[in-house]
């Protein structure tokens, strides 16, 4: 009962946040300062349009996840208080106006989510939580170092003073601070290669928490990158923008490639989060480069594309994780290979998941398409930059984004097709049950939002333009076309509402015509099977088989470790008694980056350990030597 109350409180807080954020986005800015609560500058909050956007997104997602959790019964009873703390901390992070407030809220958010990752308390969850704790604190260390660097050189911990002082800073200090802050935020955003915690931690948490971690928390890392890239430190040099653009392209591609071969539904969604953060960063990087070249209108377009994708991803990833939660609850496993046929057992969840999959695959006329389209239009206009090397970077980023979109469509064909269609692949899947009424309503509402954001870009884009314009020195309003058609200068135009209408007519007219003329006759029979007696689920294509063409094409990336074990009869090897074939894919980031780094760290630590002899006399010598050294150096 207490848990339900806490979740209801979180839902109310989310609703308040959504309203407050929306108001802030539309221009109701305010500040709040309480000196007594925290040391070194006091608690200081400022609402600006950018913070408003992220709070609105967080609020809307929180309403959905909290309602789902409230209806979760025993499974979600534990951790309700931690969840509320997590939600509150995420609400404070975008508002924080000085380093102290920010770091406290940031760390509370990390700790609360860490505790929620530990929910299942099995070995996998412990490992996930351990990796998460290490990565998030490495990120925090970078953030603290970067903020201290800025604080010592500007003499203030307030972000507003940083904005004012940034143009006059030494380039080295500015670059150093940007690098440290960038690393800290990128590790939270799951940018490759700092992503290792994400595919472990997000699936380990309960689904309503996974939805918030993927939908909102990683976005706060993105918010940090936006602040560093276009806000706190002034116009960024070419190198930063290029770095963000390339990191985005790499994250998008590598993220979706990992998602494509994944057979764990929730981990697939987690990898796809990395992909989507990559898409956002492509927009952000392009905005930084355009701004450096003083092409403010293009910079605004690219930043609007990035922010639109932030909003969209929050909606469809929350939807997909919540729907995955229903599926996992019903089937009792994350494994795609044990699902199948769920569209008949849970039609509403299936319909919502399908809409989410269409949206995340960037298909018209849903919301993912609009933000990807905007990103493409920004990238394709790179000819305005008079630098062949940068033009090439933009062209390759556009190609990477196109490949990502294609692979994304393939990945979500697999996710939906294997999980929901054909015959159930396990006993549990055959008896899975539909979600409760509340959860169904939440899922359908989120799907409805995906549709609305898809057909209403002429309302959303100008609003985002008001957020993005001032950040990159462009006009806040104007230049987006009329009520029905969104235009990007004279370069391109799009009317998703007309496309949606045309698609509906194209569906309805032939459908009605065939039904009315009596042509649409059908009867039901078994799937054609080359003469075999009956069809079973073992004849169906599996998730692994579906991804096989991709494993072959990209085998330089996956480096599968193929193994074939055959147990043959002692008298003739033609009689095979048991055969096992495994071909797991590997992560090149683990093997080429983290393992060598951890190995060398261990070696170093073992060497340093020799100093630790355990004899007090030796330690006294150390102290004496250190004292002498300090005196000499002074």
């Amino acid at each position: 009962m207490i848990a339900v109350g806490l979740y209801a409180l979180a839902a109310l807080a989310g609703l308040a946040g959504a309203i407050l954020g929306l108001a802030g986005m539309l221009g109701r800015v305010w500040s709040l300062r309480v000196d007594a609560v925290v040391p070194l500058g006091g608690l200081e909050l400022t609402m600006d349009p950018l913070a408003g956007l992220f709070i609105a997104v967080a609020g809307a997602a929180t309403v959905a996840t909290s309602l789902t959790a409230a209806g979760g019964g025993d499974e979600t009873r534990r951790g309700a208080g931690t969840y509320l703390l997590f939600v509150a901390a995420m609400g404070v992070v975008p508002l924080a106006a000085n380093a102290i407030t920010f770091l406290i809220a940031w760390e509370l958010m990390s700790l609360a989510s860490w505790a929620l990752v530990l929910d299942r308390r099995d070995d996998d969850a412990r490992h996930a939580a351990w990796v998460y704790a290490v990565m998030t604190h490495a990120g925090l260390a970078c953030l603290i170092a970067g903020m201290l660097l800025l604080a010592t050189h500007t003499g203030s911990v307030r972000f507003e003073d940083w904005r004012a002082a940034a143009p006059a800073l030494q380039p080295a200090v500015r670059a150093g601070a940007a690098l440290l802050l960038g690393l800290g935020f990128a590790s939270k955003a799951g940018v490759i290669p700092l992503h290792v915690w994400l595919p472990l931690a997000h699936p380990a948490a309960p689904s309503h928490v996974s939805a918030l971690m993927s939908g909102v928390m990683v976005k706060l890392g993105v918010l940090g990158l936006v602040r560093v890239g276009v806000d706190w430190l002034g116009p960024a040099p070419v190198a930063w923008g290029t770095l963000i653009l390339l990191a985005g392209a790499l994250s998008a591609l590598a993220g979706i490639l990992h998602a494509l071969v994944e057979t764990d539904l929730k981990r697939l969604l987690a990898f796809s989060t990395i992909e989507n953060v990559g898409i956002v960063l492509i927009g952000l990087g392009a905005a930084m480069l355009f701004r450096h070249a003083q092409l403010e209108t293009l910079a605004r377009l690219a930043l609007v594309a990035a922010l639109y994708h932030v909003l969209n991803h929050a909606m469809f990833k929350t939807l997909l994780f919540l729907a995955a939660g229903v599926v996992v609850h019903g089937v009792g496993t994350h494994d795609l290979e044990a699902m199948g046929g769920l569209i008949k057992r849970m039609p509403w969840t299936a319909a919502a998941f399908l809409l989410g999959a269409l949206a995340i695959a960037g298909l018209p006329p849903l919301n993912g398409f609009v933000s990807e389209w905007l990103t493409f239009q920004a990238l394709l206009q790179n000819v305005a930059l008079e630098a062949p090397a940068l033009n090439l970077v933009f062209a390759l980023a556009a190609a990477a984004l196109a490949l990502t979109a294609g692979l994304g469509a393939a990945c979500f064909t697999k996710a939906f097709g294997i999980a929901f269609l054909a015959l159930p692949r396990s006993e549990a899947a055959a008896h899975a049950h539909e979600a409760s009424g509340v959860v169904r309503t939440v899922l359908l509402a989120l799907a409805g939002l995906c549709v609305l954001l898809g057909i209403g870009p002429t309302v959303v884009v100008p609003a985002l333009g008001r957020v993005a314009g001032p950040l990159v020195g462009a006009d806040a309003s104007g230049g987006w076309g009329g009520a029905l058609t969104l235009t990007v200068g004279s370069f391109a135009g799009l009317s998703t509402i007309a496309i949606a209408a045309a698609l509906l007519v194209g569906l309805a007219v032939p459908g009605a015509a065939l039904a009315w003329t009596g042509i649409a006759r059908r009867r039901y029979d078994a799937t054609w099977g080359c003469g075999r007696l009956r069809q079973t689920a073992r004849m169906e294509y599996t998730a692994t088989a579906f991804a096989d063409p991709f494993t072959r094409v990209f085998n330089f990336f996956y480096r599968p470790r193929t193994r074939l074990d055959r147990d043959v009869h002692p008298q003739s090897r033609l009689f095979v008694r048991r055969i096992a074939y495994t071909s797991p894919t590997r992560s090149i980031f683990d093997e080429w980056l983290y393992r060598p780094a951890l190995d060398s760290l261990r070696v170093t630590i073992e060497r340093v350990q020799r100093l630790q002899s355990g004899r007090a006399s030796t330690y006294l010598v150390y102290i004496f030597a250190a004292l002498l050294a300090l005196l000499v150096l002074r």
Binding site: A400, A402, L403, A410, I499, L514, M539
Partner: protein, 312 residues
């Protein structure tokens, strides 16, 4: 008024002309290898026969399977409004190449789901291969769009075609030719032609598209085949109008419209002969060599873009 007329004309033209194009292509291929081949109007007869038959639907499948043929048809009908056919300015003027490509992906997405929905191994195999080929073709498409947009200053199809129709010499440069070759290869991959896929065979090891739609019958199959023919028609018309921009009327009036129809028919005839020659001349590639072909087309498109950047 004239706009509405053009819209209806375009949709009817694509819907009615697509089977003719397929029939002509088959006839041409037959003639090239010394056979007589079926008559040009045969695809119409096939469609009519399929529409008269009762469809058999797998008991394993769901509403996705039954909805997909209609989705496929709807995407093609909308695409018919986006592609400039007889007039330089298409009906839905705002829409660009990016949207067109994504509409095709929408159709592929549903078709792949339908392939999985019946639970047969063929369906899954075809679906997996089809989405792989479609995904790998995407980067080429985007870079080719970039190459066109760089020369025309817009990604709106109407704008591009109008620009080239006004200044046909723009289309006669090597960079443009490279982009054409790249998009031609994409067309082969996207519409399931040789050497990527063989539309005339049901050999299980090599099937891509045919494996995916194996379970369809009756009016569902008619819709799927019709939509596939329309996709080919739209791709060929697009290539013709983008890369042979001559003779496109710029205003909607009865005279120019009639002229536009004749010009379109001529361009399609040229491209049909070209496609028939290509398909007769090459053998089908092994499935896992297809990525190399697509990588080649990507290189062509990238060269086309680079030629703009470096030669400005």
């Amino acid at each position: 008024m004239i706009d509405a007329f053009v819209a209806v004309l375009q949709v009817l033209l694509v819907a009615a002309g697509a089977p003719l194009l397929v029939g002509a292509l088959r006839r041409m291929k037959a003639l090239l290898v010394g056979r007589r081949g079926p008559r040009v109007l045969q695809p119409y007869a096939d469609l009519a026969k399929l529409l008269r038959k009762e469809a058999v639907v797998s008991t394993t499948s769901s509403w996705i399977f039954r909805l997909t043929p209609y989705v496929l048809l709807a995407t093609m009908l909308v695409a018919a409004l986006i592609v400039p056919l007889v007039l330089a300015r298409p009906v839905l003027d705002f829409a660009g190449l990016v949207l067109l490509m994504y509409l095709f992906v929408l159709g592929t997405f549903f078709l792949a789901l339908a392939g999985l929905d019946t639970g047969s191994s063929f369906g899954g195999m075809g679906a997996s291969r089809e989405v792989a080929v479609a995904a790998l073709a995407e980067p080429t498409v985007m870079i080719a769009i970039l190459a066109l947009a760089l020369r025309a200053g817009t990604t709106n199809l109407g704008g591009i075609v109008e620009r080239f129709a006004q200044e046909p010499l723009l289309a006669a440069n090597p960079g443009h030719l490279l982009a054409f070759s790249a998009l031609f290869i994409v067309m082969l991959a996207e519409t399931g032609r040789l050497p990527v896929d063989n539309p005339a065979t049901h050999l299980e090891l090599t099937m891509i598209h045919e494996a995916m739609v194996l379970e369809y019958s009756g009016h569902y199959l008619a819709l799927v085949e019709w939509a596939a023919a329309m996709k080919l028609f739209l791709f060929m018309a697009l290539l013709g109008n983008l890369f042979l921009p001559w003779g496109m009327p710029l205003t909607a009036a009865p005279g120019p419209l009639a002229l536009g129809l004749v010009v379109l028919a001529l361009k399609l005839a040229v491209l049909t002969v070209g496609l028939a020659v290509v398909e007769t001349g090459v053998a089908k590639l092994r499935l896992f060599r297809v990525p190399e072909l697509l990588a080649g087309s990507f290189a062509l498109a990238l060269l086309s873009v680079l030629s703009v950047f470096l030669l400005r």
